[in-house]
Amino acid sequence: MTQSIFSWLDERLGLTAIYNTVLDRKVPKVNWWFTLGSASLFLGLLQGITGMLLSVYYVPTPDHAYDSITFIMNGVQFGWLIRGLHHWGASLLILTAFIHLLRVFFYGAYKYPREFTWFTGVILLFGALGMGFTGYLLPWNQRSYWATTVGTEIAGTVPVVGDFILRVLRGGTDLSAVTLSRFFSLHIWIFPAVIIATVITHLYLVIRLGISNIPDKDS
């Protein structure tokens, strides 16, 4: 029964072909450092899932943001778990992505024909940092308020256009409800959209080009 349903679907969707291409592809003999891309992907998915769940209760306005997070932590069962996963997963994702980058760099895996894979990876790194920066403001506590004050102020030190960038980031002169709202929008819509598209490209290239060998002494 299951077998016949599967083969019906397989014939139409090409599931076996997808499985063979994506998961049964040939890889060189590699080591544990090569798992960090998958680890980052897994953490990214976890961030997506826990983030969607947090949005069930979180409200991005100055008068309710902090209270809604207090409610998630104390009023909702397992709210602490969902928020904790999102909080720690964020830091861990930056860590795995960065070590992944170092592995690719030191093994020279960014070289021909994988330059564009590296390029998409850099976009993903900036995407992850952008998620971190925008997400940090959302709890609207003292730490996030002042961190974002300083963070946007740093952006403001850019010569000539600095003040303009600062104002665009804050949505005005001051850190305000407008800032919180746009950071939230960036955090849940704009960055995720860019990141998802780039992850798909990144994975497509990894599958298309295969992964590189660990370089030996001669290379």
Binding site: G75, Q77, G79, I82
Partner: protein, 164 residues
């Protein structure tokens, strides 16, 4: 690897598959099962109101005409403290019997209003009507308008409001 390390019952590939499936399911369960509680726990929480609400002196209410009275109560829902408004109709019978109805239609909770011309309560949603004593005269409501428990203290009218 030498054959003495090889299991007679399971090969390496199936073993890895089974372990991956098991670990994967465990991780999915650790996140997945709490999610159910995460979604439904606010629904299970009962925010109970149990108050006597003062409706003012009895003389405020004319005889034999259902008269509306509105009051607000502060309720806490999640992270928000808000005041909800409620309505009631007071009917003072010439026999000094006092009846206080809720203005919530028993069908789907629309608010009813008193039509003095035809002497009936009308629900705007599905054209239901109730008589002066709250009994259903036409339309879909399954039961008469809810009545509040009342008490009189020094000629002040109180209703017993319960919710949750």
């Amino acid at each position: 690897m030498g054959s003495k390390y090889r299991s007679p019952t399971i090969d390496r590939r199936s073993f890895v598959k089974i372990v991956t499936a098991l670990l994967g399911s465990m991780m999915a369960a650790v996140v997945g099962l709490p999610v159910i509680q995460y979604f439904i726990s606010p629904a299970l929480k009962k925010d109970v109101s149990d108050d006597w609400i003062s409706l003012g002196p009895l003389e405020n209410y004319p005889l034999d005409i259902p008269t509306p009275f509105h009051f607000t109560l502060t309720r806490v829902n999640g992270w928000e403290r808000s005041s909800q408004s409620y309505g009631a109709f007071v009917l003072r019978r010439p026999s000094e019997e006092i009846v206080v109805f809720s203005d919530v239609c028993t069908h789907l909770s629309c608010r009813v209003s008193w039509d003095p011309e035809n002497e009936e309560f009308l629900c705007p949603c599905h054209a239901a009507s109730f008589d002066k004593f709250g009994g259903v005269t036409s339309g879909p409501p399954p039961k008469p308008l809810n009545r509040y428990e009342i008490k009189l203290e020094e000629n002040q009218l109180f209703i017993h409001f319960r919710e949750g």
